[in-house]
Symmetry: C2
Subunit: 198 residues, 2 copies
């Protein structure tokens, strides 16, 4: 019973979080990032400014509201990989899990990506989040039997590079599913490495 | 004659730039990044605060004073690559050129790296610089005959990932030259891709 109540509370909190983020993105879309204040976000979401700050430490974080979910999706995919899977296979699996998640909100993701591209502070936060993904991925990969820490660190970086390249291609060519762009990036990586001297 | 004079002036400016950066790093080493003001940097370098701001737009940029030189070294290596070289071969060549440059100032680079690791604002600037290297590399690679823009973008990301992994290893194990860590990272990449399912 306690568990159900906690879960309800967690779901309500998740909803409030999503509502604030959705209101913020709509405002930023209309007025620009700089002109959108935490007060305006609170008003638009129908909550107090204090509530906004309870969920998000600053305005950049509101834009990356989905990051905890994305991180969870990535790490769950790593944990669910077969024990015998090679490191790049594991990060590719994580890329596909993230792709499936992003495709569910494809239209918002495109708007979100355009917003991040306009604002150096958001780009900086985005890069920091990617770096954190790399570190978390490397840590999890290194826990797998037979994967040395150096191989884990490199596989994590390579995986994030491939998924980022796929994401950039998807934003430019959204008719093709992101998952296919992920496969194309890993295939292109194999092609680059197979070239003589590559 | 004019060329020689310009060159002397350029060299003098380069010297002032280096002096300011060296004074700044010494101060940050002693007092920490946050406590080091642009005024203190100017005093230590024996120039006016205005002069410091003529060379560097903000305190973060002082820490990345070598970035223009590094960027030049990287792009010169790309331009000097054989026309038939494969994209990953070209980025590896660029990695070696950067490694040679960094090895010349190895002790300062280790101090610099430790400084950047302590300060989120510096990490953010560092990631932005890396992203810029990726973009510049991708642009140059795409100008080479037979390299599609997507392959160029991916090769640039992969190259930066390998060189960053090598750099991290070098900071942890500086007895081995950075150039060897670069070779080891590219060899590890080939190993990861060669694994079944990788």
């Amino acid at each position: 019973m306690l568990r159900v109540r906690q879960s309800l509370r967690a779901r309500k909190m998740q909803q409030t979080r999503s509502d604030i983020a959705a209101a913020a993105l709509a405002l930023m879309d209309r007025d620009g990032y700089a002109a959108t204040t935490m007060e305006a976000i609170a008003d638009a979401a129908g909550v107090s400014r204090r509530t906004v700050f309870r969920y998000f430490s600053d305005k950049e974080e509101v834009v990356f509201a989905d990051d905890p979910v994305h991180t969870e999706v990535i790490l769950a995919a790593v944990d669910g990989a077969a024990p015998e899977a090679a490191p790049l296979q594991v990060v590719r699996r994580a890329g596909h899990a993230l792709a499936a998640e992003l495709e569910r909100g494809a239209k918002d993701v495109a708007r979100w990506s355009a917003l991040v591209a306009t604002e150096p502070a958001l780009q900086a936060r985005y890069l920091a989040k990617q770096r954190r993904w790399e570190a978390l991925l490397a840590e999890r990969l290194a826990q797998r039997e037979g994967t040395a820490p150096e191989a884990a660190a490199l596989a994590a970086k390579i995986g994030v590079a491939c998924v980022q390249a796929a994401f950039d291609r998807w934003i430019a060519d959204p008719r093709r599913p992101l998952g296919e762009h992920v496969d194309a990036a890993f295939a292109a990586l194999a092609g680059l490495v197979a070239e003589p001297g590559g």
